[in-house]
């Protein structure tokens, strides 16, 4: 029934690497958020991340 999922071959390697990458990024972003928080504490206009793609 899940045939429609299989037309892209994601490769188990891609799944595994996402798990590893997400774990590494989780730690990296945790420290990045602390850094940004401290930075915004000292500066009046904190840099807001712009998540919008180009329109």
């Amino acid at each position: 029934m899940l045939e429609h999922l299989l037309y892209i071959d994601p490769g188990s390697g891609s799944y595994l690497v996402q798990v590893i990458a997400a774990a590494v990024l989780g730690i990296a972003f945790f420290f990045r958020n602390i850094r940004n928080y401290i930075r915004s504490f000292f500066t009046r206009t904190p840099k807001k991340p712009n998540d919008n793609p180009p329109a």
Partner: protein
């Protein structure tokens, strides 16, 4: 009863397919995809994306045109006037297409859906910006699953962007060779060693390449994922891609207009003539071949005519794209295209992606200050050039640059003059086999002549 033609590029996904019927394009949704499609609409995902202008809107047609047993419903999407492919896009276009894909993924997650397909072929140019065209690329989101299209995204978008960025060269032609994306192992081996020290590049390319090359073995453990982890992955990709800002390099052609502007009233007079001819012919579409930075494309665009601006110089085309983005110009589509080797037809049976000449049939074409580069620079005879233009347009505005012109003299200084036929008279004789001369004028400040030609109806 089913007088429809399935689109040759729409065969990969069993969820549905595109077909043509009576000159209109439709998309069939198959029964197998019913639940996901219904959720896509009911969850508000479709509406959110259309509201943002990121997804092509469609009308629902409750009619089984194909007579297919698998039919669930039919969609009629708004029509994209000109289909272009990633191997014709400049760096910033591919970059914006990548960011649009990630933006769409984020938005779909908010509605409990996920983007299952991250192919740049699902993105097209519509009303002056990029838009996603495949409304069957969304399925119900399972938070425990990683992103199925992650590798596809890395190979189709990240690999070419990083390679091009670090090579400081336009490499869009690689996408023609690797139309399913540049394999991670190849990207990893071609990227400079220092990129291994960038956390984002290391994870998405180098480590990814290492793992995807490994045989996972017969038993694959169930990986546990979460939405937060997926969002971290998306943020990482966005941070990396947004940082890729190649400077505006200078090429032979990037300073062309600055130089041309110095030639008396040459540019102004040429603009005046073209403007008058545009008003006379009133073409519905224009293709500007050898557009450079699009000075004359803008002239047509200002008259509200959709223009395809083509040039083989990637720096010029990228500069034009940046300018369009800044100014909000809606009528110009900038494409990297070498007129001496237009994009071929590629893919399954050579029918999946049509060639440039099959796709291009504009009302009018410009070939301004181009012919000497083709004849003298590339040794292409007038006849072959005339055949190209009579295939792709109905009216042609073409500029003849004589041998006495300083630019041609400069070119001939560096090579043997094997072009005894390069004369205005012979040019007229050959082009008259395919076109009739509607008007011709000398451009002041130069010895150049500009022609308005109309294709002979056979």
């Amino acid at each position: 009863m089913s007088n429809h033609t399935p689109h040759p590029s729409s065969y990969r996904d069993p969820s549905g397919f595109i077909f043509e019927k009576d000159g209109s394009l439709y998309r069939q949704v198959n029964k197998v995809f019913k639940d996901d499609f219904d959720l896509f609409i009911a969850s508000g995902c479709y509406e959110n994306l259309v509201k943002k202008g990121w997804l092509i809107p469609h009308d629902r047609v409750i009619e089984n045109f194909t007579g297919d047993k698998e039919w669930y419903t039919t969609l009629q999407p708004e029509t994209i006037p000109f289909i272009s492919y990633p191997y014709e896009w400049s760096f910033d276009v591919l970059k914006d297409a990548a960011l649009l894909t990630l933006g769409i993924l984020r938005t779909s997650l908010e509605s409990g859906m996920i983007l299952k397909d991250a192919s740049p072929y699902n993105i097209q140019w519509y009303k002056g910006k990029l838009i996603f065209i495949d409304s069957l690329s969304f399925e119900k989101y399972d938070e425990t699953e990683p992103w199925i299209a992650y590798r596809q995204f890395c190979e189709h978008f990240l690999s070419p962007l990083l390679l091009s960025y670090y090579a400081k060269s336009s490499l869009q032609e690689l996408l023609l060779a690797y139309s399913d994306g540049i394999p991670l192992q190849i990207a990893s081996s071609l990227l400079p060693w220092k990129t291994r020290f960038s956390m984002h590049i290391y994870l998405h390319i180098h480590l990814h390449a290492k793992y995807s090359a490994k045989d996972p073995g017969p038993t694959t453990q169930k990986t546990v994922f979460s939405k937060k982890k997926l969002l971290n992955l998306v943020t990482s990709l966005e941070l990396l891609i947004k940082k890729l800002n190649p400077g505006e390099n200078k090429t032979t052609w990037s300073g062309y207009y600055d130089e041309a502007a110095g030639r008396g009233d040459y540019l102004a007079h040429k603009q005046l003539i073209i403007s008058q001819w545009l008003d006379k012919v009133k073409p519905s579409t224009v293709a500007d071949h050898g557009a450079n930075k699009g000075e004359f494309s803008k002239l047509a665009a200002a008259k509200n005519i959709p223009v395809i601006a083509c040039d083989f110089d990637a720096v010029c085309i990228n500069g034009l794209y940046r300018e369009i983005k800044r100014s909000g110009e809606k009528n110009i589509l900038p494409l990297i295209m070498d007129i001496t080797r237009p994009s071929p037809a590629i893919g399954v049976n050579n029918k999946e992606r049509a060639s440039f000449m099959e796709r291009t049939n504009t009302d009018m074409a410009f070939a301004l200050a181009l012919i000497h580069h083709l004849v003298i620079g590339k040794n292409i005879p007038f006849d072959k050039i005339a055949v190209f233009f009579q295939t792709v347009c109905r009216y042609l505005i073409i500029e003849f640059v004589p041998k006495e012109d300083e630019k041609v003299a400069y070119m001939l200084n560096q090579k043997k003059d094997i072009y005894p036929h390069y004369t205005e008279q012979y040019f007229e004789t050959v082009f008259s086999n395919y076109f009739s001369i509607e008007a011709k004028e000398k451009i002041s400040g130069s010895g150049r002549t500009i022609y308005l030609l109309k294709k002979n109806e056979r």
